[in-house]
Symmetry: C2
Subunit: 336 residues, 2 copies
């Protein structure tokens, strides 16, 4: 019964730019919305001043949603939205599990594959909260574009189309357009792998090789994203949609993408440790790259770009050799 | 016999940036190269000063190729390369026909569909020079990236793979990598339609709708490029390759693309006549849009983005209505 009634209460977990933007989205769509975050100071500042100064300083939040630091707010959720980084999602979901009623939709809005287990985010939900309805939100959507009410289109996928449509209807508004899909695998492979390709595109740009070279690399990156997705059972049309190609186009061309920016830094010769260590902005693709090549090996898929990115990040391949690898392949036929 | 021997003499037609860059490419690949152009003053300046001041002022040409204003230079060509705009290709080819020996490969490096006939460039070659071997060069390649020796990868397609490989081998070098394909239809639909999508992406950017919206539109544009390509018999993997997706990524994100720049101007509210009239830079997509929707209608393919672009360019739809059309479609399932 709970799985088909209309969604009224939405609780968004994670007080970064993305969580704050999605809390705004839910509120604008007319939902009773609560943003959960860990830091009591940030929570107090949002409550008292209507701004998340750290994550989205330019955006007035107008008290359109409640704020809490208590995980127990999950208990009232008709829809849980998880916006913490992919590698932290498992821990948060485990902590949430006791508070959730059966058949609550849990929508993950993080893009990545879990280290160690190689699990998709929907698989992490199913593992940590067996009674939940796992769903994923992905697509080309910078948090500040979303928060500024600029038109944004994303994909929301669940195993059952009716669930995806129910969640999409709960979050959709004039500026934020979620499209429903029943292909969570395709949506997640696109969202995770585009970050790895964006790092590679950034490396090429950081080396000063020009927009033509970056575009060629992006097309090859999309081809390898496709190969892995198909091997894992993704629908090819999902990979060509918003959450695959659309998000890749955004991430592989914009300095606002953390993954692309990481690649630019690497291409310019900055030390990897400084770019990925403590204090650096989290670039999810840095984690996903090595998981992707494990998956590729397990499924017999050739992924030269992800392999090169993972090797550079692991300090096993220098940047010049990687670029040589990526750009100067022998003259031969073009293939899928 | 002539169709399989190695290519030694290359004659490139068209003295713009692209023709000049491709003459450099052929010379660097070790071919005896001649650049034909119409304007005797530009020809003299290239000969005397080693620069094409109008088209590629920053590039030293180093007398690496000969220059001529005489169409009869075609007679010595083992390979003809045509770089004039798509709508002018038919006229030039007709003028060249008397000079060419049978079975000369004629490689068109223009992206567009011929107005009136809806013909692909390879079809224009076959019509104007029935004995020639039609071929097409396309892919993400700004002329100045190519001329500056930055790494560039493109596709060269002919109906016979052996011919495509022969031409690719004649033009390939360390920085310029042509991949051979036997799918000229797929290569040309990608190259022509990406210009139309780039105009649409530019309109969205010019209206200030943000990079997320532009990326979503680009993904939808790629989907409609795919639909038309498949209806015309293109190989889907060609459309996902350098000459389709790769070139789309370049054109739909860069102000250096004339088509994107045209869209930005339209989105900013500049008058269409000023952007496309005499004196304006040629944006091939402005011609291709209307041909594409004729083809789409003939093949029963839905192309809302190209339709909107064509209507805006024809003055039949204002920009705000077009953007509303493009961005705010009803919430529904995502499909191919």
């Amino acid at each position: 019964v709970t799985s088909t009634r209309a969604i009224e209460n939405v609780v968004v977990f994670g007080g970064g730019a993305w969580g704050t933007a999605l809390a705004l989205v839910a509120a604008r769509a007319g939902r009773q919305t609560t943003l959960w975050l860990r830091d009591p100071d940030v929570a107090a500042a949002i409550r008292d001043h209507g701004r998340n100064e750290r994550a989205l300083p330019a955006i007035r939040l107008d008290r359109s949603f409640a704020v809490s630091t208590d995980l127990a707010v999950a208990a009232k959720a008709d829809l849980v939205v998880v916006t913490v980084p992919a590698q932290s999602a498992g821990g948060l979901l485990r902590a949430l599990a006791p508070f959730l009623s059966t058949a609550t939709p849990v929508l993950v809005a993080a893009k990545g594959l879990e280290h160690g287990t190689r699990a998709l985010m929907t698989e992490v939900v199913a593992r940590e909260i067996p009674g939940a309805i796992p769903a994923i939100l992905s697509g080309p959507s910078f948090a500040d574009d979303v928060a500024r009410l600029l038109p944004t289109a994303v994909t929301i996928a669940a195993h059952a189309m009716t669930q995806a449509e129910r969640i999409a209807a709960a979050l959709g508004s004039a500026s934020f357009r979620p499209y429903a899909s029943d292909d969570p695998t395709g949506v997640q492979i696109g969202g995770a792998l585009k970050n790895v390709v964006a790092i590679a595109a950034g490396i090429v740009a950081g080396k000063g090789l020009g927009a033509s070279a970056r575009a060629a690399l992006t097309a090859r990156g999309f081809a390898e994203l496709n190969r892995l997705g198909r091997a894992l059972g993704a629908n090819p049309s999902t990979l060509m949609g918003l959450s695959g190609l659309g998000d890749l186009v955004l991430s592989a061309t914009s300095a606002k993408s953390r993954n692309y920016a990481l690649g630019v830094g690497i291409g310019q010769g900055q030390p990897i440790e400084a770019l990925t260590g403590a204090g650096a902005k989290l670039a999810e693709g840095a984690y996903t790259a090595s998981v992707a090549i494990e998956l590729a090996a397990a499924h017999g898929v050739d992924m030269p770009i992800s392999t090169a990115v993972a090797a550079v990040l692991a300090g096993q391949l220098n940047v010049d050799a990687a670029v040589e690898n990526l750009m100067s392949r022998p003259l031969r036929r073009e293939g899928p």
